[in-house]
Point group: C2
Chain length 351, copies 2
Amino acid sequence: MAIVDVRAGNSPPRAQAVIGARPQGTNGDAEALFPQIHADLRQVETRLRQAVHANVPVVPEVFLHTVHAGGKRVRPALALLAAQLCGRCDEAAFDVAVAVELIHLASLIHDDVVDDSVRRRARLTANRVWGNKTAVLVADFVHSLAYPILSRCGDVALVRRLSETVVQMVEGELAQMFNEGSLEVTEPHYFQMIGDKTASLMALACELGAMVGGGSSAQIAALRDYGFKVGLAFQIADDLLDLTGDEERIGKPVGNDLRCGRLTLPLLHVLHNGNAAAKEELLPLICRGDLEVADIQRIRALLDRAGALQHAAEYARGLSSAAAELLADFPDNEARQALEALAAYIVLRTT
Amino acid sequence: MAIVDVRAGNSPPRAQAVIGARPQGTNGDAEALFPQIHADLRQVETRLRQAVHANVPVVPEVFLHTVHAGGKRVRPALALLAAQLCGRCDEAAFDVAVAVELIHLASLIHDDVVDDSVRRRARLTANRVWGNKTAVLVADFVHSLAYPILSRCGDVALVRRLSETVVQMVEGELAQMFNEGSLEVTEPHYFQMIGDKTASLMALACELGAMVGGGSSAQIAALRDYGFKVGLAFQIADDLLDLTGDEERIGKPVGNDLRCGRLTLPLLHVLHNGNAAAKEELLPLICRGDLEVADIQRIRALLDRAGALQHAAEYARGLSSAAAELLADFPDNEARQALEALAAYIVLRTT
């Protein structure tokens, strides 16, 4: 597979508009994104860095490399805001926030091993720096640490839900891997897969946050559903960025899904709901072996002409709105406004 | 690295005596080894096979491949017998038995990826059949399943102890990996490492079994200590088999630790406590690059002459006796006798 510099090419003009401009004041940094919980997220960051102790020095090295790569800490923010919205954001909410982020960070390390990724968030991946074996074991270590932290809350239901969700996430990853290169994937398969691999953990962050925040069953269910919809929208936007993004800004090569033979929503839309001509034009392009930057651009232009990029972006925006509507019965306070803003941000993000 | 057939060589006559003859009636099969819990172990086997459901067909395939490879189910037996000895072996004890075996099986799959192993228990490894990526993800899946099963017991302390133990196991694996090829490893490092990577899970099986069996704090502590000592003895015997065993019977190539640059107890004994002449003779042999079968045999003969194989075997037997003595305050019933027999078997096993 040739390493191509996608920056050399020109983006089709409409693609940028689909994802939308970066909203003012959101610089991709967690604290700027969630000003309401600025201090709380700093505390999560400190706790994350302190969570990993080991006799083997490489463990904190690999872990801190991954933590330092940044990330918006969307999952901890969801947990803390859900707890706040339900009325109580105490020690247990921080334990939930740290636990879900540890699971997320461990899954990123494993995903990079599975995908043979070289870069993530503009840094070399752990597998690239330390090798697959170390990356696999450190991810196991980080993953396992989430459980003792969460079990401090004393409620076995939290731990059970976490483990059920991890099972679901891994199943989503496996489904993605086994569908690579398959033209039999349909939109329902895609939604099942992104629901499992991505939305399930965001839903869990909200659910556990609501549980430790003292939410009622209805509130827990509403926040869980909110998190799931936000998670679906997030993944659709992420998949769109892989087609239309800028390598320098997203911190990894674009067109990765296409090169791996993964059919995301815009492609599935053309294959299953588009006009026959667009489908006929698309099929030979995506079935080609080593995709060059020019091929990615042709596919992107085709998806743009067929309205498939717009369809996917609209779908994500619909999910985002539906997520925000689920908050209607909660008090209209800072936490609710932050969750509404987060849902809107998810489909506007460009980094 | 050349693939060598160690069967072509002749074992030094004393090596076999060190490990001892296979005890009568113990054919390596779980049920024959633990006749007292024959029916219970059948139930564990059924529950293990039923534990893994997934939409992705490869998950149960890989898992059943690993389950079918057999194994003596030492950890489930420890859990069930500890529960029995404390007076109550009910549904919760089966959940503990299945959960610890799932963690063990997942760790075997990851270990084989990390070690690039081709064979285990005379079968091809999952990584060899399905590739590293699938093996890593299926192991994640199997590992995660242990938690919902264990959390059915309703006691968050069980789950916390399980997760703390998994952290310890991974740290042991990482320590082993980072000590590969190092001559600075000492006996205390070795014991820390095998305590973490192996003995911790056997200790946990006993501890959790005793907890769900209604044991007192003293009983739980005694059984935990028993399991830890049995685990250390088990690993020392396993490491000895890697030097002195028969490839066909142990189901994997011998000399693997030496080829990976892992110093086990007999080698450490010569390097740190042996006479200078033996050390001088050993050093250039173990520092050689690609070890051939003849090299392994020379090392084995040297360790034998230096009394290092005997030292390690005696050390393991001492641990086994000390483990059995920890059971002295329990009622002298079938469960206790089975645990005593298990401690004795551990240092006699040849498969």
